[in-house]
Symmetry: C2
Subunit: 264 residues, 2 copies
């Protein structure tokens, strides 16, 4: 069995655990395989969202879109999107209504849900680590810190909102290399959108992220910001979308697609 087959067995086993109710962040699971953000909307909102994603590709790089009513994806053909993520969020009128580990019964109340699977920066973190660049939230064993920024996304139809960014502290002499490495992955957020000066992004306190966990910033390190796949959740809130399901931040959909597939 080759290493890709091994990784796919690990992915399948992880999805089976989540399907049985196990809840945990997915960082480090099935290494080498791409993980995705998910946002699920009624068909009536699908064009607006797909257009929003096209207009904001760094925040919303779409890797697959399901058929209306379907809960399967080419990204992992045996997976069930209603059960195989560890934790979901249900949104009503732009507000977080509940967090659940299985949304089958919610899904059953709708006939035409369309799911968008969106690239996740976990994909390029493996390459950063291989290059000897410390990925702080991994070395500290927590979730990546994410912040609502003041950067306004280009609106589409009824959807508008600001970009959510993730932050990784990078040593000043490695920032360019981190930009180069991640820039080769445009399908999973790509290059940083901002380097240093968090205040210019409207972020006043790096120690208080809006999502995820704060991480240590050491002397000589620069906070580097990437567009984040939690942006669609901020957009659902800002646009008061009547109904949506998403993954819970950090609790991603594990696919069968190797990270290398998204390397340019």
């Amino acid at each position: 069995m080759n290493s890709l087959q091994h990784a796919r067995e690990a992915a399948s086993a992880a999805r089976a655990r989540y399907r049985q109710g196990f809840v945990a962040p997915t960082a480090g699971q099935a290494p080498g395989l791409t993980q995705c953000n998910m946002i699920t909307l009624p068909r009536e909102w699908a064009y607006d969202f797909l257009l929003f994603a096209q207009r904001n590709p760094q925040a919303c790089p779409v890797l697959d879109v399901t058929e209306p009513g379907s809960h399967t994806t080419l990204l992992a053909e045996q997976a069930d999107l209603r059960t195989d993520l560890p934790l979901y969020r249900v949104w009503r009128d732009g507000q977080l209504a509940e967090e659940l580990s299985d949304v089958s019964h919610i899904w059953a109340q709708h006939t035409d849900l369309v799911s968008f699977l969106i690239g996740c920066s976990f994909t390029f973190e493996t390459d950063l680590m291989h290059a000897g660049i410390d990925v702080r939230h991994i070395s500290e064993g927590c979730n990546v810190p994410m912040y609502r920024s003041n950067r306004v996304c280009r609106p589409a139809g009824r959807l508008q909102g600001n970009m959510v960014v993730s932050m990784r502290p990078i040593a000043a002499d490695r920032v360019a290399e981190a930009a180069r490495i991640t820039g080769r992955y445009p399908g999973v957020h790509g290059a940083p959108v901002h380097v240093g000066e968090p205040g210019l992004l409207g972020i006043n306190d790096l120690a208080n992220p809006d999502f995820g966990d704060a991480v240590t910033i050491r002397p000589g390190e620069i906070p580097v910001f990437w567009a984040c796949g939690v942006t669609p959740q901020a957009v659902v809130m800002a646009s008061r979308v009547p109904f949506a399901i998403s993954h819970a931040p950090g609790h991603m959909f594990i696919t069968d697609i190797p990270d290398s597939y998204y390397h340019v």
Copy 2:
């Protein structure tokens, strides 16, 4: 005035000539600025097309989508999409109905047309030439040869069809470099989809392209195939779309966006 400003003046002047009725292929016009394929559809077909593009990103890399009824784009804010391309095709029930240099009067019969502007391989040809790789249709002063392939696109809604490919003969010892250079431009078709063995793509006679012009293939050269932005026209035909407008092959929309913007 810097070189980008010069290029934008050239683009503006070229669009003005086309607006006044001048008809000619756009290759070599306003060098350094991105040119686009265009496909314009009624709003009722827009989701199917945007989804088709998401599912077939090598053939249909979408650079902008207009608002319904609008004939302007962020890619060139002063341009008018009804007049500023040198030549258009009007499609009815999947058949080519007419070729026109101005479609304002056709556009006026519809209230909700949505235009999709799609990356064009002209963008990476400049880099190929800078690397000393001969781009044959440019050195021979003709249009790039394009072929309908047997490669089935992933369908979306009512849209289906096969990929159209462009072909450039490349010396065997430069094929890898051509793949590397073009691969850095995923927004404008990216890396080749096929190298050598045209028969495996269902192409039996390279001397008889389905669109554009045949070019010389010299001894020691390999035919290299890229996904082509004429694919949407093949899809309009195969799917018998009731109404569409497109550019005529080789007669592109010249934008104000530098090619380098799409370099990863």
